[in-house]
C-alpha cells in the first residue's frame, strides 16, 4: 500500500501507516507488531488479547503518556508511539531471563527478600521499580486547565450497545432527559453483523432525539453516592447527578487460564473478531476458535469471511505452545488429546459481565441491563431489558454467574503476572481467603482491576477445602474502572478557591508577593520584609488584617452564652473594654483565640484567627444550640475590613486623620472606641500582637480601600510602609505570641502553652473546664517554651535535644534583628521529672526564656 508520512504514526522511529478507523493497536498489528509489552514481573511477551480495553497487554506510550491502551486509542497521523517495558527493547528483552528465575522471585517477593542487610532494599528499590514500572511521566508542563463540569440529566446510561441505547430511547420517550456515555463510539467494537446493524439503527435514533445527549470517547469511571457518575470525556470531566443510572457496559470474553495462555497469538474472541471485522486485519492465518457457543460460530464466520483458515474446537485447552509466538495448541476431548498447529488461538469460552461499575452502586438507584447483567442475551432480549429499565420498570435481581473451573496452571492475573503456582504458594503459606490471597499475591490489583482474573482467583479459593471468608461473593470494585491520567484526574484543579480581602487589588498594586494563608491569599511581603519589620519597630506600618474572624453576638442570652463559652471572665467587661480569650474544645484543648469585646446593650464583638473564622461560626452556633441560648450570631468577617496601624508613630499618624483625642488617657491600651479616621467610621481596638503601640481599625469593608489609601498618604513623610506575613510572624515571635495551629498541638491546654492566666478555673462552668480538671490531675509531660539562641536559630521543625536526648521540636523560629539573637518557640518534654532549660538544636545551644523576648514588660504597647 502506498502511504505518505502524513498518513503515518511514528512507532519507535518507524513510520506506520494509519487507515481510517484504525486504533493504535490495529495499525501496529497490521504493520507486523506482535509484542506490545512485557509482563510486569517475569517480562514475558505480551501481545494483543482483548481489544476492548479490558486487559493490560497493549499498554504503550502515546505522545508521552504512558500506560495508554493501544486497542481503544484512535490512531492518528503524527502520533509518536513506543513500548515502555523491556530492555533494551520489548522485542529483545534481556530481562526476559527473569522468566527462568521464578524461584528467586517468589510470591510476596517484597516481604521476603532484601530485608537484610538493611541497606539492601533502599539500593535495590529504584532498580526493582524501574524493572517493574510501566513507564515514566516526562512532561513537566503545568496541568492543563481541564474543567470538571456538572450535569443534571434525569438518567445516565453507561454504554452504547443495544441494551444501553434501547434504555436511553425508552427513557427519552417517557419525557426524561438522558446522558448516554460510551468509551468509544456506539458499536465501534462490534464486528459487522446483525448486532452492529441494530446498534447503528438505535444510535441514529438516539442522535436524533433532543432528549438524549451522547458523549463518545467518554468512559464512566466511577459511580458514587448521590448517585454521582464521573465521566471522563476527552476535554472535560463530567460530574453527572442523575435521578437514576442504567449500566449497560456489556460483557467481555472469559479469560482462559492454561499453560501458555499469555503467548502472543492467544486472543479473546470479540477482540479477534473486531480486528478482522472492523479493521480488516487478520489475527492469524491458521486460527483455532475454542468454544462451542453460537457466538463462537459467529466469530469463526467473521474470521473466515476475512480470509482466515478457521477450525472450531470444543474441549479443554491443555496448553498453548510456542516460542516467541503461538505455534500450536493442545486440546483435550474426553480421553483424547489433539495438537493443532495454528498462529492464533481465539478463546470463546463464554461471556463475563463487565460489571465493575454496577458493583460500585450497591444501594443506589442503578439498574444493570444487557450483557452487563445477563451475559449472552439475544439481541431482542437485550433490547427489551434495556427498554424496561429506560421506562423505570424494576428488573428481577440477577443471579451471579457460576465461577469457572478452578485454574490448574497458567497466568491468572495478566497485570501482576500472578500464576496458579503463585496462588498455590500463597495458599501453602497459610493465606486462606480471597481478600488476603489477593493482597498477598497482588492478583486483581493491577491496571485492569481484576476484570480479567477476579473470577479465577475466586474459583481457586472456592476449590480449596478450608477457605475462609466470602470466597464465592463478588469482590469489591472501586473507581476508576478505566485508567485515567493524572492530568485527567486533576480536572477542576483550577477551581481552587482563594478568599480575597477588600484590599486585594491594593496589595497587587504595591507588588506584594501573595501567599496562601488558610483559605485566604495574603501579602507575604511587599518586596523587603526586613524593612517592613523595622517600619513597625521604629516608625509606622499598616497591615491588612481583614481576614480576622469577626462576629457580633447579640440576643437575650448573649452574655450568658459567652460567659459559658469562654474560660475567661466575660460578664465583668464594661462597654469599650475587651479581653484576650482562648476558645477551648470540650477536652480543654485550645482551638482558637481572639478577643471578646463589650459593645453595650448586651451585644458583643468577638474575633477569631484568620483561618478559624468559618469553623468558629459553626462552633458558636453549635454551642448556642446545645446550651439552648437565644443568641444571634452575625458573621461580619466579609462585611468588615480591618487594618492594623502599628509602630511607635502610629498614634501620630492616626491623629493626622482623626479629630478625636488619641492620647494614652483618652484611648488607653486594651480599650475599644468608635473613631472616625479619614472620614471612615471605625471600631478602633488598641492592642498589640506585634509588640508596639498599635490600633486595629475595624470598618465597613466597602470603605477599606479609602482608609488604606488615606493612611499610606498621610504617613508618607513618616516613611510608612505596609507589612506582610513575613514581618508579622517575626514581630509576634519576638513577643512570644503563639499562632494557633503552628505552635499549638492537638492536645495543647492553656497550661501547656503557659497561658493559664487566660483561664478562670473558679468559674462554675465553661467549655473545656472538665477537660482541664482532668488534665490538671496529671503532671503535664510536655509544654511550649520560648528558646533563645545565641546565633541563628535552627529552622522550624528542627529537633530539640537536652543532654543529647531528643526532647522536642521547634514550631517557630527566626533571627531577631532587634535583639540580634535567634528566637524560637518549641515543644519540650520532661527529662528526669523536670523541663530542661538548656537545649541544643542542630548544633546550636539555646536556653529557655520565661518571658517575651522583646519588651518583656510591655512598655512599648502602653506607650
Amino acid at each position: 500500500m502506498l502511504f505518505t508520512l502524513n498518513d503515518a504514526l511514528d512507532f519507535e522511529g518507524q513510520q506506520i501507516p494509519v487507515e481510517p478507523g484504525d486504533s493504535v493497536a490495529s495499525a501496529l498489528y497490521r504493520a507486523g507488531v506482535r509484542v506490545f509489552s512485557r509482563s510486569f514481573k517475569y517480562h514475558r511477551r505480551r501481545g494483543l488479547y482483548c481489544l476492548t480495553g479490558d486487559c493490560p497487554n497493549c499498554m504503550v506510550n502515546v505522545d508521552g503518556d504512558p500506560c495508554v491502551r493501544a486497542c481503544v486509542t484512535a490512531a492518528a497521523p503524527g502520533q509518536r508511539v513506543h513500548r515502555e517495558t523491556g530492555w533494551p527493547s520489548a522485542d529483545r528483552d534481556a530481562l526476559g531471563v527473569l522468566d527462568r528465575m521464578h524461584r528467586l522471585l517468589p510470591v510476596g517477593f517484597y516481604y521476603k527478600t532484601l530485608l537484610r542487610p538493611r541497606w539492601a532494599w533502599p539500593r535495590a528499590e529504584p532498580m526493582v521499580r524501574r524493572v517493574a514500572g510501566r513507564g515514566t511521566i516526562t512532561r513537566l508542563e503545568p496541568p492543563a486547565n481541564r474543567e470538571a463540569r456538572n450535569a443534571h440529566p434525569d438518567v445516565v446510561v453507561i454504554g452504547g450497545g443495544v441494551a444501553g441505547l434501547s434504555a436511553a430511547l425508552a427513557a427519552a420517550e417517557a419525557g426524561r432527559t438522558v446522558l448516554l456515555c460510551d468509551e468509544g463510539r456506539p458499536g465501534e467494537k462490534v464486528a459487522p453483523g446483525p448486532d452492529r446493524e441494530r446498534i447503528d439503527e438505535l444510535a441514529a435514533q438516539a442522535a436524533a432525539s433532543e432528549q438524549i445527549t451522547v458523549l463518545e470517547q467518554s468512559p464512566a469511571i466511577g459511580i458514587y453516592e448521590g448517585p454521582l457518575v464521573v465521566i471522563n470525556a476527552p476535554d472535560v470531566l463530567h460530574l453527572a447527578h442523575p435521578e437514576s443510572v442504567i449500566v449497560a457496559t456489556g460483557a467481555v470474553d472469559e479469560h482462559g487460564v492454561f499453560p501458555g495462555n499469555d503467548l502472543p497469538g492467544v486472543w479473546l474472541a470479540r477482540g479477534a473478531a473486531r480486528l478482522a471485522g472492523v479493521h480488516g486485519v487478520l489475527p492469524g492465518r491458521r486460527i483455532v476458535v475454542a468454544g462451542g457457543s453460537s457466538e463462537a460460530e459467529r466469530h469463526a464466520g467473521t474470521l473466515r469471511a476475512a480470509g482466515a483458515d478457521v477450525t472450531v474446537v470444543e474441549g479443554r485447552i491443555v496448553e498453548a505452545r510456542g516460542g516467541r509466538e503461538l505455534q500450536r495448541v493442545v486440546i483435550e476431548r474426553g480421553a483424547a488429546r489433539e495438537e493443532i498447529d495454528c498462529d492464533a488461538l481465539v478463546l470463546a469460552l463464554g461471556l463475563v459481565a463487565r460489571d465493575g461499575l454496577a458493583l460500585q452502586a450497591a444501594g443506589l438507584p442503578v439498574a444493570t441491563v444487557g450483557d452487563a447483567a445477563t451475559p449472552g442475551l439475544s439481541l431482542a432480549e437485550a433490547e427489551a431489558q434495556g427498554r424496561r429499565a429506560g421506562r423505570g420498570e424494576p428488573e428481577a435481581q440477577r443471579a451471579e454467574a457460576d465461577l469457572p473451573a478452578a485454574p490448574r496452571d497458567g497466568i491468572v492475573c495478566l497485570c501482576e503476572d500472578v500464576g496458579v503456582d503463585e496462588l498455590d504458594q500463597a495458599w501453602q503459606e497459610g493465606f486462606r481467603s480471597t481478600e488476603i490471597v489477593k493482597r498477598y499475591t497482588t492478583a486483581t490489583m493491577g491496571p485492569c482491576q481484576g476484570a480479567m482474573c477476579h473470577r479465577h482467583v475466586r474459583a481457586f479459593i472456592a476449590s480449596r477445602p478450608g477457605a475462609t471468608g466470602p470466597a464465592h461473593g463478588p469482590m469489591t470494585a472501586r473507581p476508576p474502572t478505566r485508567g485515567i491520567t493524572l492530568m485527567e484526574a486533576a480536572a477542576g484543579v483550577r477551581d481552587e478557591v482563594h478568599q480575597h480581602t477588600a484590599l486585594h487589588e491594593r496589595h497587587l498594586a504595591l507588588n506584594a508577593t501573595m501567599e496562601p494563608a488558610g483559605a485566604w491569599r495574603r501579602p507575604k511581603h511587599y518586596g523587603d520584609a526586613l524593612a517592613e519589620y523595622w517600619a513597625v519597630r521604629k516608625g509606622v506600618s499598616v497591615m491588612d488584617v481583614g481576614t480576622l474572624g469577626k462576629f457580633i453576638v447579640a440576643g437575650p442570652d448573649a452574655t450568658a452564652f459567652l460567659e459559658r463559652l469562654y474560660p475567661c471572665r466575660v460578664s465583668d467587661l464594661e462597654p469599650g473594654r475587651f479581653r484576650y480569650a482562648v476558645l477551648l474544645g470540650e477536652h480543654g484543648f485550645v482551638i482558637d483565640d481572639g478577643i471578646v469585646c463589650a459593645l453595650g446593650d448586651g451585644r458583643w464583638y468577638v474575633t477569631f484567627t484568620s483561618s478559624g473564622a468559618a469553623a468558629m461560626e459553626a462552633t458558636l452556633k453549635d454551642w448556642a444550640e446545645t446550651f439552648g441560648h437565644e443568641v444571634h450570631i452575625a458573621d461580619l468577617t466579609a462585611a468588615w475590613g480591618a487594618i492594623n496601624v502599628a509602630g511607635p508613630r502610629s498614634r501620630e499618624l492616626l491623629q493626622r486623620l482623626s479629630s478625636e483625642p488619641l492620647g494614652n488617657e483618652a484611648f488607653p491600651y486594651l480599650r475599644r472606641r468608635e473613631l472616625t479616621v479619614a472620614g471612615v467610621p471605625c471600631s478602633a481596638i488598641r492592642l498589640g500582637f506585634v509588640g508596639e503601640l498599635s490600633y486595629e481599625l475595624h470598618h465597613p469593608g466597602d470603605r477599606s480601600a479609602e482608609l488604606w489609601d488615606a493612611l499610606l498618604e498621610a504617613g508618607r513623610d513618616l516613611d510608612i510602609r505596609p507589612h506582610g506575613l513575613d514581618a508579622l510572624r517575626l514581630l509576634r515571635l519576638e513577643k512570644g505570641h503563639i499562632i494557633i495551629g503552628q505552635d499549638t498541638d492537638f492536645d495543647a491546654t492553656p497550661a501547656k502553652l503557659n497561658m493559664s492566666w487566660a483561664v478562670r478555673q473558679e468559674k462554675p462552668w465553661f467549655v473545656g473546664k472538665r477537660g482541664l480538671e482532668r488534665a490538671a490531675a496529671h503532671e503535664a509531660q510536655r509544654k511550649l517554651v520560648a528558646v533563645s539562641f545565641a546565633s541563628a536559630a535552627p529552622p522550624e521543625g528542627a529537633p530539640l535535644r537536652a543532654g543529647g536526648r531528643l526532647v522536642g521540636q521547634l514550631t517557630s523560629s527566626a533571627w531577631s534583628p532587634a535583639l540580634e539573637c535567634g528566637v524560637a518557640l518549641g515543644w519540650v518534654e520532661r527529662v528526669d521529672g523536670a523541663f530542661p532549660n538548656n537545649l541544643e538544636s542542630e548544633g546550636v545551644q539555646g536556653s529557655v526564656v520565661e518571658h517575651a523576648f522583646y519588651d518583656p514588660e510591655g512598655e512599648r504597647l502602653r506607650a
Binding site: H241, H498, H632, A639, G701
Partner: protein, 147 residues
C-alpha cells in the same frame, strides 16, 4: 448568552426570632431566608434604618446589619443561564421563584430563580471566583461578559 451583572442595592442581614423575620420578609423585594433566625434582604441597604426600627418592634433583641460588603449577588441572564448554572453546581436548580443554598463553583452560594434571570449570592471574599469561573466553564456556550 450568559451575562453577569452585580445586583445593586447592597444587602441587609436580619437576625431575630423566626416570627419577627417572617413578618419582616413579607413584601420584601428579594428576601432570602437563609436560616430560621437569619434573613438576608437583597437590595435593601437604603432601608436599613427603617428595617432596624421595624425589627426592634418585632424583636427587641433582633439585629439588622448592613451586610452589603459581606455579599456579592450576581445576576445571571441569558438563554443559557440554566445550563451555565448546571455546569457549575451539583445542586438541582429549584423551580422559578424558588431558593436554594449550596456550592456553586465550589463556593457556598444562595440561589434565587426568577423569571428572566438567576441571582447567585456569594461571600464578597470569593466573588471574583464566581465571576471568573462562569465564563471559563461556559466558554463553549457563548462568551460570558462580566460587567
Amino acid at each position: 448568552m450568559p451575562e453577569l451583572e452585580l445586583f445593586p442595592g447592597g444587602a441587609v442581614g436580619c437576625f431575630a426570632r423566626p416570627s419577627a423575620l417572617d413578618a419582616l420578609a413579607e413584601g420584601a423585594d428579594v428576601p432570602l431566608r437563609v436560616a430560621p433566625t437569619e434573613l438576608l434582604l437583597l437590595g435593601a441597604r437604603s432601608a436599613l434604618a427603617e428595617l432596624a426600627q421595624r425589627l426592634a418592634s418585632l424583636d427587641p433583641h433582633g439585629l439588622a446589619l448592613d451586610l452589603s460588603s459581606a455579599h456579592a449577588t450576581w445576576i445571571v441572564r441569558g438563554d443559557d443561564r440554566l445550563e451555565a448554572f448546571a455546569r457549575l453546581s451539583a445542586i438541582p436548580l429549584p423551580a422559578q421563584g424558588g431558593f436554594a443554598q449550596g456550592l456553586v463553583a465550589h463556593v457556598p452560594a444562595k440561589v434565587v430563580v426568577r423569571e428572566d434571570d438567576l441571582l447567585i449570592t456569594v461571600s464578597s471574599v470569593v466573588s471574583h471566583h464566581l465571576r471568573d469561573r462562569l465564563p471559563a466553564v461556559c466558554g463553549d456556550l457563548a462568551e460570558a461578559v462580566a460587567r
